[in-house]
Structures are given as C-alpha cells and as structure tokens.
Symmetry: C2
Subunit: 198 residues, 2 copies
C-alpha cells in the first residue's frame, strides 16, 4: 500500500456499490419475465422514484414501453445464483421464473410480476424514458414496496441486513453482500459540526 497516488483508469463506470436486482415485466404475450441488472438507483423522493437502465436489445425493454410498468425485485445474497441465471438467458426463449424456481405474483398496482421468494419487491409505473446511448434510462414512480415481515423492525422500518441485498462491483465483476454498519446518516457527522464551531 505504498502507492497512494491515483491513476486515471479511463472513462469507467466505477461507482460502488451498485444494486443487483431483477426487473419484472409481462411481455407482449403476457409471459412473466425477469431481467437482471445493476444500472439502477433511486432518483426522487416525492414522488418516490427509481431509475433502471437497459439496452434496447433486451426483451424487457419493449415490455416496459408497452405496459408502462415494471417491478424491481431485490434478491438476498443466498439468491445470487438464481438471480445471476436470469442475466445469462433471454426471456424471448426462456421462462426464467420456472427455470430459476421462482414464483411470479401479479402486482397489485402495476401491470408487472413480482418475485414471491425475494424479500423486497417494488411496483413501478413508467414516468420517463430517457435515451442515453447503449442503455436508456427508465424512471419508475414507486407505487408500492412489499417487504417480507421478517425484514421489518417493530416500528415498520426495513432492516437492511435482514434483507441481505446484493451489491455488484463494476470492473471486479463480483457480487457482494452488505457488511456491518459504519454509522447513522445525518448523525455521525454532527461531532464535526461541534468541532468546526469551536
């Protein structure tokens, strides 16, 4: 660790961590499908919204455009193998739900299927589609967030370690689980405010 200088590794998508999720849709034939992706993030609080980005070539792309709906389903670290499988084959020729042993549950608010086995499933309706390049960005308004009871605290908040989500690491190409907490947001920096005000 002697070298603490930085190197420009080029125009690289080096954002850490990115969320590894499965996007659920119904296609033109009404078949439930899942797309694995990590180009995603929250993008608004009111209305609550998230973005997912997809290549035009993906089967899911047209399904979102025509149904104007999708779900975002968060696999547990223990689901990494089946979730990864959903990124290896196409919904055009594969019934990924059946092959991965997952159960589709029709959304209550959005015209898209959720993964019954996953701890968190988010229903979205399409708000915006922004063309960027290899990938286009879909903004989905969050209509509902379904959370497994065992992942909820008594006060109704989500316990992220019980969700056990998967992070994808660009470049490294590996999935990671969450480690320990390193503090509370909008809180641990307060000690520095006091130090600065002295």
């Amino acid at each position: 660790m002697v070298d603490t200088g930085k190197r420009n590794i080029g125009a690289f998508t080096g954002l850490y961590p990115t969320p590894f999720v499965l996007c659920g849709t119904y296609d033109a034939e009404g078949r439930a499908n899942l797309a694995a992706l990590a180009w995603a993030g929250v993008c608004c609080s009111a209305p609550p919204a998230l973005q997912i980005s997809l290549r035009k070539s993906r089967h899911t792309y047209g399904s979102i455009v025509s149904r104007r709906a999708f779900t975002v389903n968060i696999p547990r670290a223990d689901d990494a193998r089946v979730a990864d499988y959903c990124g290896l084959v196409s919904g055009r020729t594969h019934d990924k739900f059946a092959e991965a042993g997952l159960t589709p549950v029709r959304g209550e608010f959005a015209d898209a299927p959720m993964v019954d086995e996953f701890p968190v499933c988010i229903e979205c309706r399409l708000l915006h589609l922004l063309e960027i390049g290899s990938h286009d960005l879909f903004v989905g308004e969050i209509l509902a967030c379904w959370v497994r009871g065992s992942c909820l605290e008594p006060d109704g908040s989500v316990n992220p370690l019980r969700v056990s989500p998967i992070a994808f690491a660009p470049g490294d190409g590996r999935y990671y689980e969450l480690g320990g907490s390193v503090g509370r947001a909008f809180d641990i920096g307060k000690s520095l405010i006091k130090a600065v005000e002295k």
Copy 2:
C-alpha cells in the same frame, strides 16, 4: 422469523444498496463544494454515464447547471464521518472541504473539484437534466475515473473491498460497508443453465 409473508409499506424508496457519495462542484464564485447524496446509479455503458439526483434547493444544483460538470467521489468506510458532515451543512455558508479536512483537486477533464483523500473520483460532464419532482436527475458522461493505486489489482482492475465504499440504506438511515463476495457475475448462474438443459 415465522412471518414470511410480505407487507406493503407504501410508496417507499426501498432499493438496497444505494451508493453514498460526495458530488464535487465549483459554484458561481469558483468555490469548491461537496454535496452528500445517495440517490445515484450507473445508467449507461457507452458512453459510460451515471445519474445523481438533487433537490432544486441545493447549492450544488445551480453549480452543475452553470458549469455543466461535476465529480462523484467515493468515500471509504473510514471517511463516513467527514462525508456525513458534508450532508449536514450547506456550501452557501460553509467551506466543506476545509472544515472536513479534505483537499480539492481540480479535475483534468471536467470543470469540477475532486476529493484527493478518497479512493475513487469520477469526472463527469452534464449530458442530460431530467426534472422529476422533489429531485431532478442529472446524467453525467464519465470522462475519467481516478483510482488510488492501492485499490487496483496488478491487471488494472478495481478491487472494491480495498475501495471500501459506503452503502446507504433507505429507511434504516444507516451507512454500511461491503461484506464478502457471494460469487462472480455472469458466472455463478451457469450451473443452473446446465441443470435446466438436462
């Protein structure tokens, strides 16, 4: 853990994990500033691009619009306190770099400052600004990704555990570090392909 059913906790931004980063900008007076945020994600591979989302009220919002540039700086878990501090005060009235003990380094490709002490700094030029609601979404084309030498493998790829990034957990309101790897992307699902083909 008896209850394995799901509960709809409402229109909640329950995406896990989200990346906790500092956005670097120069304001109208040329002062280097940092905005803490977790509403961010990769959104395109070619051109490489990421999105960050900000409230219109934030000082950084106008800085990005006028300079058409920003940086995304990834703090280590050990930097959680100083990074959190940057989310507690405004750049209108505070020199966050100085108060947090961070060193601004002028971007080489984008008109925005980077955090010298952080392991990964990404230079972006503004490609798109999409109005959504409480937050608007900025798409930045990635022009360079600076990585500390000690975070690079001999083959030049990034070792995410050495970066030691911070995940923010919506709802829980805590920061988390990365845990162990749970497998290789586009790889660990292959065993399921073989099982399905049998």
